[in-house]
Symmetry: C2
Subunit: 344 residues, 2 copies
């Protein structure tokens, strides 16, 4: 089961509608599809959805790494997957989404060789996971319409994007909460608030009894002190996303007592750091959610297998394939909000 | 690959010679051999070597748990091994060595079903590990004789037991260090010193330029403050063993900055907590060694597969099969100090 070749293919995906989060709008995304070829012809698949905003990655730049990475991992046996993982860890800061794709492709090739799905190599803790779906920033009418559509599609958790303006953000969430009963909200400011804005926002949620599961990344990635203050001042759990990329980031968040939750994304951490973050948050009593960038079918599959295999997550935000046009789920079956990982 | 039966067998092992550590002498040990039987007849093996001193476990008591544990895990699929692990986590404090044996037997049954050795399910990071061998507490002459024998057998690390009397402990280590060149020492006080005794002992090592790799568990298990003071006052790395049983213990050691090293033993932590401890220590810059209780062949095999699979350890103290009479290595090949995990 030795690695013989590594192929990259660029694929462009359009969003169903512009995806608007705090200070950022996306209409399309170019991802890299990875094929890892073994000596017997077995192919492991993976997908990188790079992020300039979160990781500082440029898709065009990391696409050029194919040759040097193949040199590093050629002839390694995918059964010795930690050897491959360790090589890719060198790209933890510079190309984490590519690290994720190749680490997954390694497990996927192993999985095909032993006819055992990846999620069972990772422990098979859950047979399926339940994903939320995201409402991006828009007008009040648009927000309510989108949230109702998500509720009607069977999702029990709705993720709402905020972080541009406290007053209109509060108004939009309250309008949705008036219309819909029986869901919980993950509210994500994507670093858009100051500490005081965040405290005012979350206080408005509490005064209006909005069922917030996590208040995610209110302040800039490096502002651990701000997170800590908001955690102490919030009656709802506060989570880190942009602040929590590598396992070292998360160890620091834990030591500083900065958050109640961590949002793991394979595109930020790869499988190796994600596994470490799972274990250390479990050990520290920190809650876990899993999120995504703009992955298509293969990419979301990576996270579905990881989430089901480890069974570590309270919240799953694995909806990017639903936000992009013409995506077929690969490696999982979607039934309403449920995602069942399969051998593929 | 569903679990259908669980069998326990008691086996008594005699030590080659009385094994003397701080305030404790052993001449024999009764272990529990575990067989986990799947629906298709596949058997997974494991071994519990309980410890009253470290875990508070009684072999006779945990032997009675067979029926209730079988009830808990019956019909679970070993491919969903985290489901089995999670059930056994309920015994983290009361029967950790049994938890370890059954968790390993689960992976071993999975391993046999896919013809892939356990160490590769765990990542296959190393193809072999190098174990030290232990000199127990004895007269100065005996200590030097035993250490030379270990050196002649090809071990590059010698573990020395101390912790009963600083003056004679220092004399014994210095006598060995005068005789043998080119090895490193793991020095283990097994909770036997006070903080000040430990500081005096380790200062004597430094003044005499003894190559100490780790100064292990100088003070009682619960004395985290003592560990921290010794860490700050020692020019050598200070390690926790008896203080580090569960992943929660280790998270606390990390948060308190109490040690440089952690000694993982499957008999204290099982595979589930051991995996967590590996990840969190890697993330916190804490070094790792792996040790054993009084395991025979199967039991040492568990640790060899774990250590090679994760590749996480700087020091390996997997020598109990060498200290017991009539033990055949099972699941690994021993060549001098090298231990190669194999499919079994």
């Amino acid at each position: 089961m030795k690695i013989k070749d590594l192929r990259f293919t660029e694929k462009k995906w359009d969003f169903v509608k512009p995806f608007h989060i705090a200070n950022n709008v996306s209409t399309s995304k170019v991802n890299i599809e990875v094929e890892l070829v073994l000596s017997d012809g077995t192919v492991g698949l993976g997908e990188s959805s790079s992020s300039f905003r979160v990781n500082g990655e440029s898709e065009a730049a990391i696409f050029q790494l194919q040759k040097e990475i193949l040199e590093m991992i050629k002839d390694l046996d995918v059964r010795d997957y930690r050897k491959v993982f360790a090589k890719l860890d060198a790209y933890s800061r510079t190309a984490p989404s590519l690290k994720a794709a190749i680490q997954f492709a390694t497990l996927h090739a192993f999985s095909r060789s032993i006819s055992t799905p990846v999620y069972q190599i990772l422990g098979g803790m859950k047979d399926f996971v339940e994903t939320d779906k995201t409402v991006s920033i828009g007008s009040l009418e648009e927000t309510v319409h989108d949230a109702k559509e998500i509720f009607d599609a069977g999702h029990k958790v709705i993720k709402m994007k905020v972080g541009e303006d406290v007053k209109s953000d509060v108004a939009r969430v309250l309008a949705v909460n008036d219309e819909i009963k029986g869901v919980r909200y993950v509210i994500d400011a994507n670093t858009g608030y100051t500490t005081k804005e965040a405290l005012r926002f979350i206080d408005a949620m509490y005064r209006n009894d909005v069922p917030v599961g996590i208040f995610e990344q209110p302040v800039p990635a490096e502002d651990f002190e701000g997170l800590k203050i908001i955690r102490q001042g919030s009656m709802y759990p506060v989570g880190a996303d942009e602040s929590a990329k590598t396992k070292y980031d998360v160890m620091r968040l834990i030591k500083e007592g900065a958050v109640d939750y961590v949002n793991i994304k394979l595109m930020k951490s790869g499988l190796s750091d994600a596994l470490a973050i799972v274990e250390m948050c479990n050990s520290a009593g920190i809650g876990l959610m899993i999120g995504c960038m703009s992955e298509s079918g293969i990419g979301v599959s990576q996270s579905v297998h990881f989430a089901a295999g480890t069974g570590a997550f309270t919240y799953h935000d694995l909806d990017s394939h639903l936000l992009l046009k013409d995506v077929d789920p690969v490696g999982f079956r979607q039934e309403k909000d449920r995602q069942y990982p399969i051998l593929f």
